[in-house]
């Protein structure tokens, strides 16, 4: 059984097709990152490779980027284009003839505001009482604003919105107005669909209330018991008038780049017939979720289970080729040594996940307290920064630059600040700065004592070093995940992720700095009868100060870079604009917010660098 399971892999080409494949072009699928599009990609890829003899490949990107790629010809095929959600990239493509829509994959899907079902009905198994027992329709929401309390603004509830620049984002904002939800709810921008997922998972695992945008078919809906809030039945007139009804089914299309018509007319014919429905998709997603997300297995299951469906998409001889290859691949590649055996199945992530969910379960109070403290600091700092009139702020930057370096630098920094304001990003800059400052302050408070401890004890150093290496080399996106799980979405998890990422250099440099203090110097201090505290404060820390300051400089820069990334989990500031620009592939906006981040980074870097250098003069 194991062997049979491990045999199935679309990336292993059958011998007979390899000759043909070398003559035919390679077709590139767009992978916009969710599971159903991957399933469709793989199904189509298997048919194309084995039936038609093309090679295939995949490019991953966000959905607007996939469409952009489709228009430019970097991507040949998009199996699941949620046309309404990406209309401003998709439609111009159709109009200009860059994209050709071949078929509707399915259009009976659902979108709207969901809540976990336990919010309405409770969950006796998990001991969850119903929190909003009479919640049925979107119009009932104002009654329950206290249930869905927004941590950043507790006087209102929070509705998790659609990812920025999805069409549904515009629809939901419209509904906020139409249904008068604005008075009672904050519309929260989750930054990306990934973080929207996380906010659901996090709330669901904790049994907390959550209300927000989601859509079906998805694994979330397959895995979790979610209820779609009712809305007026779809009516075009109502829809046109402030979206005062439920979402119409979105046309999810199979679209290809125009060159496909010439490059692979046979494949185009096949894709024109490609059609599924929401039920099939949900079944596939559920199957996949039940099988640890095993894509190969899911697709294999599809070919067996839905043979009647897919054999209609292609001529009989092609269908036979595909069937044959599916059967024969089993025998052929069963013992391939070049392929790592799939039945050796090691999973670290599971344990980390278990640990994190154990932590959230048992230390929720702690995390809530922590969140309150972080929130308090950030708001405090932001309050102070925002209270300074802009011209005074620029003047202060000038004076700081002048005093630390020279008047020319001061002038340039002031000019940079002025430009940020001129670009209309002043508030965002203040937001970013307050998160950076909070992150750095907390990093220092945590990092220096740990660094000191590490320098005093070789065992602690040996223990900490791999952790620090890990924290620094782990892709910074990964830090976002636990931050989201512990703290949800918003500013607090952004600060938290920033701290995890940026404390490492502070710890490292403190350790290094203290270890570098000449032994005779500490011996001298001890020989005059100093206590360890006196040696630390009078000798070691002052001696290590230039190194520690260099560490703080690095910490600041790390915080700066993290703050941008953490906009993906709903942190406001300059990073949010960058993210929106990426989603829109908006060059102008991307450049404006990008250059603002560069300016801010330069100012912070030069000034902290200078503080470090000044300490070096001793």
């Amino acid at each position: 059984m194991l062997i049979l399971q491990s045999n199935f892999n679309i990336y292993s080409y059958a011998d007979k097709s390899s000759l043909a494949a070398s003559e035919k072009p390679k077709l590139v699928f767009g992978d916009a990152g969710w599971d159903s599009i991957r399933i469709h990609n793989k199904i189509a890829a298997i048919i194309i490779e084995n039936g038609y003899g093309y090679k295939t490949d995949e490019i991953t990107g966000s959905s607007p980027i996939v469409i952009k790629g489709l228009r430019q010809g970097d991507i040949d095929i998009s199996m699941e284009s949620w046309t309404d959600n990406i209309a401003d990239v998709y439609e111009p493509g159709i109009e200009k003839g860059e994209i050709v829509e071949l078929s509707t994959n399915y259009d009976d899907n659902a979108q709207g505001l969901y809540v976990p079902t336990y919010v309405i009905k409770g969950d006796s198994e998990r001991g969850i009482e119903p929190m909003a027992p009479d919640l049925k329709s979107i119009k009932d929401l104002p009654k329950y604003k206290d249930v869905f309390k927004d941590p950043d603004n507790p006087s209102k509830g929070r509705i998790y919105g659609a990812p920025p620049n999805w069409f549904s984002d515009e629809v939901l904002r419209g509904k906020m107005d139409t249904y008068n939800l604005k008075e009672d709810y904050e519309y929260f921008n989750p930054g990306s669909d990934t973080s929207l997922n996380t906010s659901i998972v996090s709330a669901y695992e904790k049994g907390e209330p959550w209300v927000g945008y989601y859509w079906d078919p998805t694994w979330i809906i397959g895995k979790y018991d979610m209820t779609l809030l009712e809305d007026e039945p779809y009516d075009e007139a109502k829809w046109e008038n402030g979206y005062a009804c439920e979402f119409p089914g979105v046309n999810v299309t199979v679209a290809v780049n125009k060159d496909m018509l010439e490059k692979a007319p046979d494949v185009v014919e096949f894709l024109k017939k490609y059609e599924t429905n929401t039920q099939i998709n949900s079944e596939l997603l559920a199957y996949m979720q039940d099988n640890d997300g095993d894509l190969d297995k899911t697709v294999q299951w599809f070919f067996v289970e839905y043979e009647d469906l897919w054999t209609q998409w292609v001529p009989e001889e092609i269908a036979n080729e595909v069937k044959k290859s599916i059967d024969s691949e089993g025998g052929k590649f069963g013992f391939s040594l070049s392929k790592f055996p799939e039945n050796i199945n090691i999973k670290f992530g599971i344990y980390v996940e278990k640990l994190v969910s154990w932590l959230t379960k048992h230390f929720q109070g702690f995390f809530d307290g922590l969140a309150a403290i972080i929130n308090w600091i950030v708001s405090g700092i932001r309050g102070i920064l925002a209270a300074i009139p802009w011209f005074i702020f620029i003047l202060l930057i000038f004076l700081l630059g002048w005093k630390m370096i020279n008047w020319k630098s001061g002038f340039i920094y002031a000019l940079m600040m002025f430009l940020i304001g001129g670009l209309g990003l002043w508030n965002e800059m203040i937001f970013t700065l307050s998160i950076v400052i909070t992150g750095v302050l907390i990093s220092i408070i945590i990092g220096i004592p740990i660094g000191i401890h590490m320098s005093y004890n070789d065992k602690v150093e040996a223990f900490m070093k791999p952790i620090l290496d890990g924290a620094q080399t782990m892709p910074s996106f990964v830090h976002l995940i636990p931050a989201m799980i512990f703290f949800g979405l918003g500013t607090v998890p952004a600060v938290f992720a920033t701290i995890i990422y940026s404390t490492a250099p502070c710890i490292r440099f403190t350790n290094l700095g203290i270890r570098e203090v000449p032994k005779e110097m500490t011996e001298a201090a001890y020989s005059y009868g100093s206590s360890s505290w006196q040696v630390l404060t009078k000798i070691e820390l002052p001696q290590a100060m230039p190194t520690i300051m260099a560490g703080i400089n690095q910490t600041t820069m790390a915080a700066m870079s993290m703050v941008v990334i953490s906009s993906m989990i709903g942190s406001k500031g300059l990073g949010e604009n960058v993210l929106i620009a990426i989603n829109r592939t908006d060059i102008a906006m991307g450049f404006d917010s990008g250059i603002s981040i560069v300016f801010l980074a330069i100012i912070i870097d030069r000034i902290t660098q200078k503080i470090s250098d000044k300490n070096k003069d001793i």
Partner: protein, 396 residues
């Protein structure tokens, strides 16, 4: 003299299992065996000695012989694995944290090879440091520190940072820092090794001069045998974590206890070890100032010499008369020696090394007179004995 420091059966073992090494040492394992079988390094192997109050006790050895480990056991910068360090009758090894801090603040100060100055503090702050730790108030400790800075000749440099000073000056700061604390005991860990030879010589002389005023008990580490013999009232030679010989420089020079020490002292420049008192002779002919010319002539005839020193009734040296002058005076019937006294002879103190007498010996035609501080004549050194002194001591 009282014994200021007594060290008894000191063992220091480095590594994770010092007690194991100690047991094995007791059962007769060698250092090498212990290192191979337990991974423990024996830094000090059963060291015992004592230091008298007011003496300079020099510990000499090659690098790795354990001398730095030993001096750090005296103020517990290294905690001995076993054994006793008794200072003023108290075993400091058993001190708790506070007792130890107080002990270090009051009794001992240390001077380091690389000076161990705090580079982020001014010279003055460095010198004040020990007092600051003792919680002496600011005015008072600045006054004391300034005095110590003056004492080592650094007046005017107190506001400089240590890095702005030359090596020699930096070590003066180190010395001033130690002196400011006014400790009974100075621990000096190769204090002059990092200095160039000329500066080193100056510093050695200055240390001796300071010591003649201050009379501290000094434990001095060096790997330079010349320095050891120049400074040390007594010298301990270390090898492989053990003391192999203790004695005065002369004792060690003349009776090296084994080949190791012989090798060690082979290269020694004897002119830097042998002193005037080691080679002087009792003057068998002197004349009292009150005696006449004829007595002087007779004395010279008797001893078969051509000149004779003249002393007063306290044996204080007054001058020298030659046989020629005496005979001339006698012919003129003048009997007073005063008129023909000559002063073109050299005197020296008994502690002066013969290296410093070679020059005088070459210039003078008379013997060199060894006198004490009051000018009383202790002996004379004839030129030949300076040269023979280079070959061997106790020539008579």
């Amino acid at each position: 003299m009282t014994e200021k420091i007594i060290v008894k059966n000191l063992v220091k073992s480095f590594g994770l299992r010092p007690k194991l090494a100690l047991e094995k040492l007791k059962t007769g394992w060698t250092k090498k065996e212990i290192l191979e079988k337990t991974g423990q390094t024996i830094g000090l192997n059963n060291v015992s000695f004592s230091v008298d109050e007011g003496e300079i006790f020099v510990i000499i050895g090659l690098s790795g012989s354990g001398k730095s480990t030993l001096i750090r056991c005296l103020n517990l910068l290294n905690k001995p694995t076993s054994g006793e360090v008794i200072v003023d009758g108290e075993n400091i090894v058993n001190y708790d944290k506070n007792q130890l801090r107080e002990f270090r603040q009051e009794k001992m100060a240390m001077v380091f090879q690389q000076f161990g100055l705090f580079t982020h503090m001014t010279v003055l702050e460095n010198v004040e440091y020990g007092l600051e730790i003792k919680k002496v108030d600011k005015d008072k400790r600045q006054k004391i520190a300034m005095k110590a800075i003056e004492e080592v000749g650094l007046k005017g440099w107190e506001e400089k940072m240590p890095n702005e000073l030359s090596g020699g000056m930096q070590q003066r700061v180190g010395l001033a820092r130690a002196l400011a604390n006014d400790p009974d005991i100075l621990l000096m860990d190769e204090p002059f090794s990092a200095l160039d030879p000329l500066i080193r010589r100056d510093m050695q002389l200055e240390l001796l001069e300071l010591q003649s005023k201050l009379k501290k008990t000094i434990v001095f580490i060096t790997h330079d045998i010349n320095e050891a013999f120049k400074l040390g009232d007594r010298v301990a030679v270390m090898r492989d974590g053990s003391i192999v010989q203790i004695g005065t420089p002369e004792e060690i020079l003349n009776n090296p206890s084994d080949e190791y020490i012989e090798d060690f002292v082979k290269d020694i420049d004897r002119t830097k070890v042998v002193r005037a008192k080691d080679i002087m002779k009792r003057p068998n002919a002197v004349v009292s100032l009150n005696a006449g010319v004829r007595v002087a002539i007779k004395e010279m005839q008797l001893n078969d010499i051509s000149s004779v020193f003249v002393v007063d009734k306290d044996r204080k040296i007054q001058g020298i008369v030659t046989i020629d002058d005496c005979i001339k005076s006698a012919k003129n019937n003048k009997s007073s020696l005063k008129e023909i006294l000559k002063q073109d002879y050299y005197t020296t103190k008994e502690d002066v090394y013969i290296e410093d007498l070679i020059d005088k010996g070459a210039k003078t035609k008379y013997p060199i007179v060894v006198v004490n501080n009051e000018g009383r004549m202790l002996g004379i050194i004839v030129r030949t004995s300076i040269l023979t002194g280079l070959l061997t001591t106790n020539g008579d």
